[in-house]
Amino acid sequence: MKKNVILGALTVAGLSAGAAAAGTLDDVKARGTLNCGVNTGLVGFAAPDANGEWKGVDVAVCRAVAAAVLNDPTAVEFVPTTGKTRFTALASGEIDMLSRVTTWTFSRDVDLKFTFVGVNYYDGQGFMVPKALGVSSARELDGATVCVQTGTTTELNLADFFRTNNISYEPVPVETTAEGQQQYLAGSCDTYTTDASALAATRASFEAPGDHVILPEIISKEPLGPLVRHGDDEWADVVRWTLNALITAEELGVTSANLDEMAANSENPEVARLLGTEGTLGEMLGLDAAWAKRAIAAEGNYGEIFARHIGEETPIGLARGLNAQWTDGGLLYSPPFR
């Protein structure tokens, strides 16, 4: 009985999908929603809150893209992906873009055929230990049991770090952040290693965050950014420049609060080009003139997003550090809007 229902639904769905065009941008427009792959739950980057609403830096990027393309920051279908399913989900077209604290590496870019459109968080791998352990450096972790998420670059960095320092360890592989947190708190590993930002986020969700310290060593470079499939450059451009718009907006002092005022009154020609009051940047991108304005209106510029989800005012409490604008000594450096 039920088989027929699904076949029927399939027929209907298959036909409506078959009518869509080939490019991702057109697909998204035709569908009316953006399918965005996110983490299954990492507070500050992508996690559902108590009402089931997704919140976080990665989520904000998805919302900005949806606002730019579809004129509706809520028209996003968040697809939770694990370390295992994320790349297949993107490669097979199940999601349009992946925004899931994914490290930009050579092999992912070249061998797995993905296009990283930029970096929305410069990160590095660190270690968290309970204060009671009395460890002050990662080099003192000889013989320790280490919880590490499988399928991540952290796992490989960890092996390299211990190998180059000629000390031994015992890995405890975990599938998700949640699992790693439980194992670490239960004491079945001495230390938990992952990106420093995620460590801070995890620690913030503990009952007694003060009992745990993050060791000073950062053992790797982890540029995290959104990515799309190879071979659809129009779509990659949309996502890339939406991210750049958020970063440029902060650099130019455009915030969600003064957005309309800036659009109307700004003397700065770059602001005018960014917000679509001058030039035809939106048109070149296959969108309308106000695309960047909507993207910024969704959750604010990069600085606002950072401050709201992971900044020093939040329980996670990350400093801008490398993620400050280049003018403030950070690495954020958006190409010009011209």
Binding site: M1, G8, L15, G18, E94, E207
Partner: protein, 432 residues
């Protein structure tokens, strides 16, 4: 004579002595205890050991349950309320009740929809499970899948109506043609259904779902125990007919069809379900046209259905093999052709023999739906291990949550197996 006797014997009792009660030790609870618990020294030792085990379990569990706290909003509060006493924090169940049952993404204002679908499931299943109910109720059973689909997923009502129309068209064509030949009816029915669906697919306007009576809910928003129930019910329902077809195919005299069925069944039975779920989550998408995206729920349903239909096929094959050869020969001698013989003589008997096996598979399959948590779906185990245990408030409440999930599964699975035993007794016609 009697006088002589009377004289020679001093006293003869004229009435029967009332039977004396058995000795105290051979009656009542004492006898039962002696026979069942303390028959031999070894037996007594076993009894004492068993009593000790029971005491261990109960002394740990009972106070823990009795002291349970139901009303706090976080583990810290609960610990304070317990104040060092051993007790459970059942408040995680009350606070996360909806998440455990429906997942965290299903819109809370629509919880009545899956609940209603579940209630209707019982109504729809009743005439199938209990033969004494009026047969007319089966009409509702036939319509139920479409109602349930619409209730849970929402969207335009045209989709389930179209699907139903296709089925009805198929059934009508089948009935018209089956008098000529089963094959005509069967293939004619399928073709008719597909024509209706294809034509209907063009008719339904693209934006129909937006203005529908029930708001559409995408299937990745399904979660919690609801997801386990849906996967279990859908896949079992689907896999019984496929399993029958595979079993018949494996018994078939046509070498090619037999080979296809054997390869399929042995392949599926040879690999663990989890690898099939990996196929669903990381591989299956590559096998469909680029523009059609099957959602994960549907891919999982496909793989689990394939999995369970292979097992059900083996059970039914056992049933077919257990039938005496005379039944086949009798059907042949009556002049019935293959579809008639199967439908009227062989399958009814073979299925009856297979019922306990099919129920076992169904129970096993229902339990196996928890494996979807491994591929990142938020069924009840996924909810517990993911969002709930990771939340700041409930970090570390393992036993209450795992216990709750166990109780839910136990109730359903034990219920099904008890039903199957009842059914077996009901159907035991051959020993009367």
């Amino acid at each position: 004579m009697s006088d002589i006797h009377a004289n020679s014997v001093a006293f003869v009792r004229k009435t029967e002595i009332p039977p004396a009660p058995p000795p105290y030790a051979a009656t009542g609870p004492v006898k039962w205890l002696r026979e069942n618990l303390f028959a031999t020294p070894a037996n007594s030792l076993l009894t004492i050991a068993a009593l000790y085990v029971i005491w261990l379990i109960l002394s740990g569990a009972l106070p823990w349950i009795a002291n349970g706290i139901w009303t706090t909003s976080s583990l810290t509060e609960c610990r304070q309320a317990l104040d060092g006493v051993a007790g459970a924090c059942f408040s995680v169940l009350t606070e996360r009740w909806n998440q455990l049952l429906f997942g965290f993404q299903y819109p809370s204002e629509f919880y009545w929809r899956p609940t209603l679908a579940l209630v209707l499931l019982f109504v729809a299943a009743a005439p199938v499970l209990f033969f004494d109910l009026p047969r007319k109720l089966l009409v509702f059973t036939a319509v139920y899948p479409f109602i349930a689909f619409w209730l849970i997923w929402g969207g335009t009502i045209l989709t389930p109506i179209l699907a139903l129309a296709g089925v009805i068209a198929g059934a009508l064509v089948y009935q018209r043609l089956v008098t000529g030949s089963f094959a005509y009816g069967f293939f004619g029915g399928i073709i008719a259904a597909f024509i209706v669906w294809t034509v209907g697919g063009w008719i339904i306007p693209a934006g129909a779902s937006d203005s529908a009576m029930l708001t559409a809910v995408p299937s990745r928003d399904l979660g919690g125990f609801m997801l386990n129930m849906m996967l279990g019910v859908t896949c079992v329902t689907l896999s019984v007919p496929i399993g029958i077809a595979l079993a018949l195919g494996r018994q078939s005299s046509m070498p090619l069809i037999k080979m296809i069925c054997v390869v399929f069944i042995e392949f599926i039975r040879g690999v663990p379900l989890i690898t099939l779920l990996f196929v669903a989550s990381v591989m299956l998408a590559y096998f469909f046209p680029p523009e059609s995206t099957l959602d994960l729920f549907l891919r999982v349903v496909i793989m689990i259905t394939m999995f369970s239909s292979a097992y059900i096929a083996e059970v039914i094959r056992g049933g077919l093999a257990a039938l005496p050869k005379g039944q086949y020969e009798a059907a042949d001698s009556l002049g019935l052709d293959y579809p008639q013989a199967m439908r009227l003589i062989i399958l009814p008997q073979a299925l009856k023999i297979s019922i306990p096996g099919i129920v076992n598979i169904a129970v096993g399959l229902f339990k196996d739906t928890t494996l979807v948590s491994v591929i990142g779906m938020f069924d009840i185990v996924g909810m517990i291990r993911g969002p709930i245990l990771a939340s700041t408030e409930w970090n570390g409440v393992y036993w209450e949550l795992l216990g709750f999930a166990s109780v839910l599964f136990f109730i359903v699975c034990y219920g099904i197996s008890q039903y199957s035993q009842w059914l077996e007794r009901r159907l035991a016609t051959d020993h009367r």
